[in-house]
């Protein structure tokens, strides 16, 4: 039985190591997943954190300067909870309502990179980055999805920029 005990201990050690990795990585490299509203509520505290925010892209605000390259655009608040999205009538409707509602909280995004292929009006943007002291969101990564039209056909990393 001695051999078996050793084996079990080795297995448990691996599991413990992995659990440790998961917990510490969640602390250090995972992003707070917040809505625009929640970021606003955090106030200055938001400056120090790595954040992931999601929102609906306002088409007319997209400005691309290929000589930098730099894209700026504004996104409007959408609920973060999938159930809430569902109650409001589905993602497509939520995005549509968000861009057309003047009251929805908005956030300006600055992305120092080339314009992603799918950045367009009413697409859903999931953005990783940090809130700058200028009140703008400085993105490291922009993921996009256009639910009105391509909801089904895009497998894999189609929207990665």
């Amino acid at each position: 039985m001695k051999g078996k005990t050793k084996l079990v201990v080795a297995g448990l050690l691996i599991v413990a190591a992995v659990a440790y990795l998961i917990v510490t990585s969640t602390g250090s490299t995972a992003h707070y997943f917040l809505t625009i509203e929640e970021v606003r509520e955090l106030g200055e505290e938001a400056w120090e954190r790595r954040l992931t925010i999601s929102g609906a892209v306002l088409g007319e605000t997209i400005d691309y300067d290929p000589s930098q390259p730099r894209v700026t655009f504004t996104i409007a608040q959408v609920p973060g909870d999938p159930k809430e999205v569902e109650r409001a009538g589905g993602l497509a409707k939520v995005l549509h309502d968000a861009v057309n509602s003047p009251d929805a909280p908005r956030m300006e995004v600055v992305y120092d990179d080339v314009k992603p292929d799918l950045l367009q009006h009413e697409s859903q943007a999931i953005i990783r980055g940090q809130l700058g002291q200028d009140g703008k969101f400085h993105a490291d990564e922009v993921l996009l999805k256009c639910p009105t039209r391509y909801e089904e056909g895009i497998p894999g990393q189609a929207e990665e920029s």
């Binding site: 992995v18 990585s25 992003h31 390259p69 799918l118 993921l143 039209r149 089904e152 990665e160």
Partner: protein, 844 residues
């Protein structure tokens, strides 16, 4: 009409598979052979009608039947035929129908030629497979029918998403589905083995199916990665997205299952492991389908929330509870007979391997559902970034590769260390040579060197094992090639396995290179300007806009130089789809073993005089795809049945050999196809030229100083080979063609006959030709010219290339009637292109 046919066929498929379930169940209960025969026929019938339903859908796509909603949403009239065909599985409804069909097909295949081991299990397997098929057909028919009519029949369909119009995307989904469906077979076989208490037959029966499913999943993942690399233009191939993870997880557990099956077959034991892994693999297939359609996962890539979610959840619950109940009832059967439990035995290492596969799977799973999970546990919602996944799974993958290197050295519970001393030489050598080589090649970051060392250990072992096998045979007097062939041929499972390991190791080299050393920069270049990235110089030559085609394509021509040697022209492209209001940046890739140069055209300004480029250097990326091919080849060898010819009669043996040859041919074709998908589609011309060695006045022109189109061409006078003078301004012709070349540059030699042909055609139409060779032995130039039959004026010169800012050969200039540069071509020019330009010039 066609829609009705399709719906009816799907309905018939549902009836047949449901009938098969009941008939075979009844035959087991009543032991009545007639019910069994009838049920068997129903299984085949289900596969046949569902196959016809796929054909019906295909016909609908090819015939532009937009009265069917699914066709209207995923196709359009102007789509090429092959894309119309692949649009059959371009969306959810069609892919579910394909899934249902494949499920029925596999049920029929298990029945068709049951092996000796499968025979006693076949009745129960048919029951379970029919049940699974019935579920999928029912879901397709009632919740997601691809033949549903369109509310309004549109004049044209919406077309296929531009990003999916790539050969990799045609084969990726079916490969994934074949893998998913295939994993149902070992699971069904396992439950059947438990029910009939024939657990010892199970590993041999399940192995080929598991292997095939695992190979298809691997191929699907590989093609998906390559598609992302070739099409999406973000420089990477794996983004740890939940949808990708959903495909990766069953592959991981299937890999573990394969190892557990081998151990159960060879040493007994591992019954719990293999049975739970087959259950887990099947559950993860259902889970992937469920999560991507249920809204549980917050992913930009998830399918739209559809009513399918709850049904898949219910199916998972039934599968899990049913299986666990059966496991409990048969717990005595599952309890392992005595086997070695020493940690440093082969069994011990295999166990650790399985644990690692499970922890990686669990990590990926946790990462995928982290927002939901953390919200339930704590107040805040966390999201796992790619860095999270790298950090969590990286060390685990490294440990796995390490175990892979050590494992084959451990025999039965014999003294591991002694064996290590006797046979560990290749392992240790690999562990030293690979990091040393990497360090010398400039890959010096400590963590990556650890990675290279681990990879080297494992690679050394794999190569050492094969080499030992070959050596044993050559000592017996076999030739080395014959010995190699026989080593793989006679023990396919073992050596195919080593080849798979070697493939994984090569891929690991690629992963380390791209994860640690990728260089990414952006550049905004005006025409003729250049940028230096590492050892490359990239010159932006021109932007070519083709607005006539659909999509409208804009290409940037980027000349690539290294040490003033012209490597080729990269053509990254931006496609604009007017109907989709979408652009797609298609990257251009220049692949070398050491690194990929990956260029994306990100935009342009000032009417095309300025281009914005995104440039990536991905070190060792080629190893990833190379490893993928070796991996597939190794997998194919393990799948290829062992020749048990000795025990067979002559006609049987002949048939077996014929099958074997056919399998070999099919395998080779598949590998070739995979290779083509990997490398056949990158956007670049393959010119490779070298300037003559430095010294003796070699033109070391800085890039960017060449005269631009529209500027006056520098005048020059040279002495031709026959001694007569040639001066550009005195050429007395409307148009002049100047070709710079060198006899030691193969692409130059390739283009000379084309130039000669064009000269023959245009010399009487007012076109002067002159070839200018870079400094070389006059005799070499003379020989080349006479050998290739070039008769237009030819000279050797040093100064002219400098004045024209030549950075490499061949380059060709067209000078118009005003003495202005009218056209510049970098790299070899074709007769067609040159004539086209000349016609345009002469027409002015």
């Amino acid at each position: 009409m066609l829609a009705d046919v399709g719906t009816i066929l799907t309905g018939l498929g549902l009836l047949s598979s449901a009938y098969a379930f009941f008939a075979v169940s009844w035959s087991i209960r009543s032991d009545d052979q007639r019910w069994w025969e009838s049920g068997r026929n129903a299984v085949v019938a289900a596969a046949a009608v569902l196959g016809l339903a796929i054909v019906a859908l295909l016909v609908a796509f090819l015939g532009d039947q937009f009265s069917i909603d699914y066709v209207a949403q995923h196709s359009s009239r102007d789509l090429p035929l092959y894309l119309k065909a692949s649009a059959v599985w371009g969306g959810q409804d069609g892919s579910l129908l394909l899934w249902a069909f494949l499920q029925a097909l596999f049920a029929a295949l298990v029945l068709a030629r049951p092996s000796r081991e499968t025979q006693p299990l076949v009745a129960w397997v048919t029951v379970l497979m029919s049940l699974i098929t019935t579920f999928f057909v029912a879901v397709t028919l009632f919740l997601s029918n691809p033949f549903a009519p369109a509310p309004i029949v549109p004049a044209d369909g919406q077309g296929l998403n531009p990003l999916l119009r790539h050969p990799g995307m045609i084969f990726h989904p079916p490969a994934m589905y074949l893998g998913y469906v295939g994993l149902a077979v070992p699971f069904a076989l396992g439950l059947a083995a438990l029910i009939t208490r024939r657990i010892d037959e199970w590993p041999a029966a399940a192995r080929p199916w598991t292997l095939a499913a695992w190979l298809f999943l691997g191929l699907g993942l590989l093609l998906g990665m390559r598609w992302a690399y070739d099409v999406l233009g973000w420089g990477g191939y794996w983004g740890w997205d939940p949808v990708e993870n959903a495909g990766l997880m069953p592959w991981l557990t299937a890999t573990a299952l394969l190892h557990a099956l081998v151990m159960q077959d060879q040493r007994g034991g591992f019954r719990w492991w293999s049975m739970s892994l087959s259950l887990l693999s099947f559950l993860l297939v259902l889970f992937g389908t469920f999560t991507t359609r249920s809204g549980l996962i917050q992913s930009v890539h998830a399918f739209a929330r559809s009513p399918l979610g709850p049904y898949f959840l219910a199916a998972m619950a039934v599968t899990l509870l049913g299986s666990l109940w059966l496991f409990y009832r048969r717990r005595r059967l599952l309890s392992t007979p005595e086997s070695s439990e020493e940690l440093f035995s082969r069994e011990g290492m295999f166990t650790l391997t399985l644990v690692l596969f499970l922890t990686i799977t669990a990590s990926v799973l946790i990462g995928s559902v982290l927002p939901t999970l953390t919200e339930a546990l704590t107040e805040s919602r966390f999201e796992a970034s790619p860095a999270w996944f790298d950090r969590v799974t990286g060390p685990q993958f490294a440990a796995l590769v390490l175990v892979m290197g050590v494992c084959p050295l451990l025999g039965r519970a014999v003294a591991a260390l002694r064996r290590l001393r006797q046979q560990g030489l290749p392992t240790l050598a690999g562990g030293l040579i690979v990091p040393a080589w990497a360090g010398l090649a400039g890959f010096t970051r400590p963590l990556s060197l650890v990675g290279f060392a681990v990879v080297g250990l494992a690679g050394g072992t794999a190569v050492g094992e094969v080499a030992r096998g070959v050596l044993r045979r050559t000592r017996r007097g076999e030739g080395p090639l014959q010995a190699l062939w026989r080593v793989f041929g006679r023990n396919r499972r073992r050596y195919g396995g080593y080849l798979v390991h070697l493939g994984v190791i090569l891929m690991a080299v690629g992963v380390i290179g791209t994860r640690f050393y990728t260089v990414e920069t952006e550049a905004v270049l005006g025409t003729g300007q250049s940028v230096d990235v590492e050892e490359y110089s990239l010159v932006f030559e021109e932007l070519e806009h083709d607005s006539q085609s659909e999509p409208a394509a804009t290409r940037a021509y980027i000349s690539v130089y290294r040490n003033q040697s012209h490597l080729g022209t990269l053509r990254p492209r931006m496609d604009q789809y007017s109907d989709f209001h979408q652009t797609a940046a298609v990257p251009a890739v220049r692949t070398e073993l050491r690194q990929d140069l990956y260029v994306v055209l990100a935009g342009w300004s000032e009417g095309g005089a300025q281009a914005t480029l995104k440039i990536f250097i991905n070190p060792l990326a080629a190893f990833l795809w190379l490893g993928g091919l070796v991996f597939m080849a190794g997998g194919a060898i393990t799948l290829w049945p062992e020749p048990r010819v000795a025990r067979l009669s002559e006609p049987q043996a002949r048939r077996r050999r014929a099958w074997s040859t056919a399998a070999l041919v099919v395998g080779l074709i598949l590998l070739a196809l995979t290779a083509w998908l990997m490398w056949g589609n990158t956007q670049m011309t393959t010119a490779s030229t070298r300037l003559p060695a430095q010294g003796e006045g070699t033109p070391a022109a800085p890039s960017g100083s060449r005269p631009r189109v529209g500027e006056p061409a520098p005048d020059f006078s040279v002495e031709l080979l026959d001694g007569s003078p040639f001066t550009l301004s005195e050429a007395n012709e409307d148009v002049a063609v100047i070709n710079f070349w060198s006899p030691d540059c193969q692409p130059c030699l390739d283009e000379l006959p084309d130039l000669q042909a064009v000269w023959k055609e245009y010399q009487r139409r007012g076109v002067a030709f002159v070839g200018i060779s870079l400094p070389n032995l006059k005799q070499d130039v003379r020989d080349t010219v006479s050998e290739l039959g070039v008769t237009y004026p030819m000279a050797l010169d040093t100064m002219t290339p400098v004045e024209y800012g030549i950075t490499g050969v061949p380059e060709t200039y067209l000078v118009g009637s005003e003495g202005e540069v009218a056209y510049v071509h970098i790299g070899p020019v074709s007769a067609q292109r040159l004539s086209q330009e000349l016609e345009a010039l002469l027409a002015e």
